[in-house]
Symmetry: C2
Subunit: 396 residues, 2 copies
């Protein structure tokens, strides 16, 4: 295990009805907030009205900006920054899923920042002031942004989807009320569960040794995600399963499971290029990328893949490591299928003639520019040729 | 799962040599600290000198108070409060194990408190000012106090050992460097591992249902504690195993594993009376109490005990629930034996003629006064008669 320095100060409020207390919980944080949300669903569901009433009852003023789309855009963030500055808000309240929260974090980061917000994502700029506090009412458990220090934005013009992370971007408050998830469509649940699982994969499948505790905690969380998502596939009205899935999704990405480990993020790197170029849902893209990635890299560290296959996928241990790993991957594919997730580029709507070479170069260069390498990290380095080959393996 | 509100803002710094950075890490927290520690071991080991040099190099002033003993006393805390006030310190730095940290928390709590510190523990007083920040360099992984909001003090005159908890008592900074544990005697490791395991038992063995994720996380942590402690029993010089055990001990008591669960604390309640009256090590007392407690209560919730026996103790599942649970308890006893822990009151040096009735009444009354009940909580209520019977079952 590697040395680490971990601080996760988010106040996490869980349970039925807790979102009704948002005004009271925000009182010590801000007198005036930017209320940020996505499309019409928060209005149709009545959540918007409840939130506004709670703010008003607590004397917390607000201005609002809706319209966040999946793969949130820099353009809306720029509007939000302007609005936040003009209104003098002291915090940003995200009511939504990962896209809304990531957009809110970008606004919180950009409001006191004198430079261009996108240049922080491209690393053209490195310094920023302390962001405004971000508070969250989660409406879609998936991205883990409610407790992570990360935000991902898409620059539509250049078709680039880039992440930024800083400890100061962990929300100060996150409210998770499982009854808010009961009306989510099945594919949203599936995309979310797939993303959560991959957040653990990116931390678990590395070459750091001596990580018994976080291995075991990660395996426990992976099993829980797979079990609870399967329950929800059969019964989307199971509020209890939603609660377990949401909590697992938070833990999957708050970096508890990454403590003292080298991390990969190769699958996310590969997927972001699909989302940026074809606007596919992140979770759907991951379901296609992950098995092909596993098959490409597992021989570089058969031990960790066999451990995963037995401890998470329930494969009977045996000396036939390849058989164990392949059965683990087969069971993962079966779970994706059970959740109705796509299996190929074609099912994602990406043609076999797509420019996978360009996407491979883009995926690798994002990491290259940050880490000074010519590959995506993980159990084995994935260079541009390997990345293209993984993309092409998804076309069968 | 129950609703919950969780906030754990401790900055947790893990790894070889990290304690050397204490001065730098304290700079943003305080200009002057009270350096608090126990006996001579921190001086003999050179840790004291390293800490002092690090403080000096960073320009952090300090006053000091050593002499904390196991089951830390109110008397020393009162001295510490006086010293902290006189010197105008802005934080308390604990260099030690649970006793030192608990004593440091009490000093941090008492320094700005106008009333009597012990009356907060007895609940005669309920209100207090914000405590001073507490920072920690851990020298003994056991009590989990390095990341918990709890402190336990002993009032020697009245032979009372009482706990107090408040979110503001979570350390702001905890440094865990596994090489500091290499010189610990084997019985300290055993007491520590026993305490950690029991911190999870107190959360795991309750009647809250629908806690799949924290069940699985708790089981993962319990297995890790048992495995790593067994490794350390064979080789106390295994720095890696110390690191895993220490991290597990932190997670065992920072309440991640208690999220949304009713909690018991019956074994701790029963043990505290042994420690208070006979000054036995807390971990040794728990090893005696826990199996007797399990045998007394398991029939009230055979399901959770059978789940524990299969998922943690490796018992083969079967329809014979009683057989599964008894085998789980037998394996737990075997693990305690393997670690060299006592099995009976006699081995603790407590005679069969001890006044178990009085201890039972005291244990139950501590909870009674706090919760307004006439029993210790858990899978079944343990009233005074049951408590006495558990104590007596430990005498065979």
């Amino acid at each position: 295990m590697l040395n680490f320095n971990y601080c996760n100060p988010t106040r996490y409020v869980y349970g039925r009805g807790e979102y009704r207390n948002i005004g009271y919980l925000l009182q010590p944080i801000a007198h005036k907030v930017l209320l940020h949300y996505g499309g019409g669903s928060v209005k149709r569901s009545g959540l918007y009205d409840t939130v506004v009433q709670s703010l008003q009852a607590a004397g917390v003023e607000y201005v609002e900006l809706g319209g966040v789309k999946p793969n949130p855009s820099v353009e809306l963030v720029r509007q939000g920054i302007e609005l936040a500055r003009d209104a003098g808000v002291e915090a940003v309240l995200a009511v939504g899923g990962g896209s809304v929260i990531d957009s809110a974090k970008a606004i919180a980061l950009g409001t006191p920042h004198s430079g261009d917000i996108w240049k922080l994502y491209t690393r053209e700029e490195q310094q920023h002031a302390t962001p405004l506090p971000v508070a969250v009412i989660l409406t879609l458990p998936a991205a883990g942004s409610e407790n992570s220090p990360n935000t991902v934005l898409t620059h539509e013009q250049s078709q680039r989807k880039l992440g930024y992370g800083h400890d100061s971007l962990r929300p100060v408050l996150s409210i998770v009320s499982p009854e808010l998830f009961l009306t989510l469509p099945p594919e949203q649940m599936a995309y979310g569960a797939c993303d959560m699982l991959c957040h653990i994969f990116e931390r678990y499948f590395t070459n750091t040794t001596g990580t018994e505790l976080t291995d075991a905690l990660g395996e426990a969380t992976m099993r829980t995600i797979m079990q609870q998502a399967a329950i929800l596939r059969r019964n989307p009205q199971n509020e209890h399963a939603w609660g377990q899935l949401a909590l697992a999704g938070t833990i999957a990405h708050n970096n508890l499971l990454g403590l003292g480990r080298a991390q990969s993020w190769a699958c996310h790197g590969l997927e972001h290029e699909l989302s940026a170029a074809y606007d596919v849902p992140h979770g759907a893209g991951l379901a296609v990328i992950v098995p092909a990635y596993f098959e490409h890299v597992w021989r570089a560290n058969p031990g960790i893949f066999a451990q995963w296959a037995t401890n998470v996928m329930g494969v009977t241990p045996s000396r036939d490591t390849e058989g164990v790993v392949q059965e683990g991957i087969a069971r993962l594919r079966a779970w994706y299928r059970e959740l109705g997730l796509p299996q190929t580029m074609q099912e994602l709507g990406i043609p076999a003639e797509a420019d996978f070479g360009a996407m491979a170069r883009a995926a690798v260069s994002v990491y290259g520019s940050r880490l000074g390498t010519d590959h995506l990290p993980g159990v084995m380095p994935v260079n541009t040729a390997a990345a293209e080959s993984i993309y092409r393996a998804c076309c069968r």
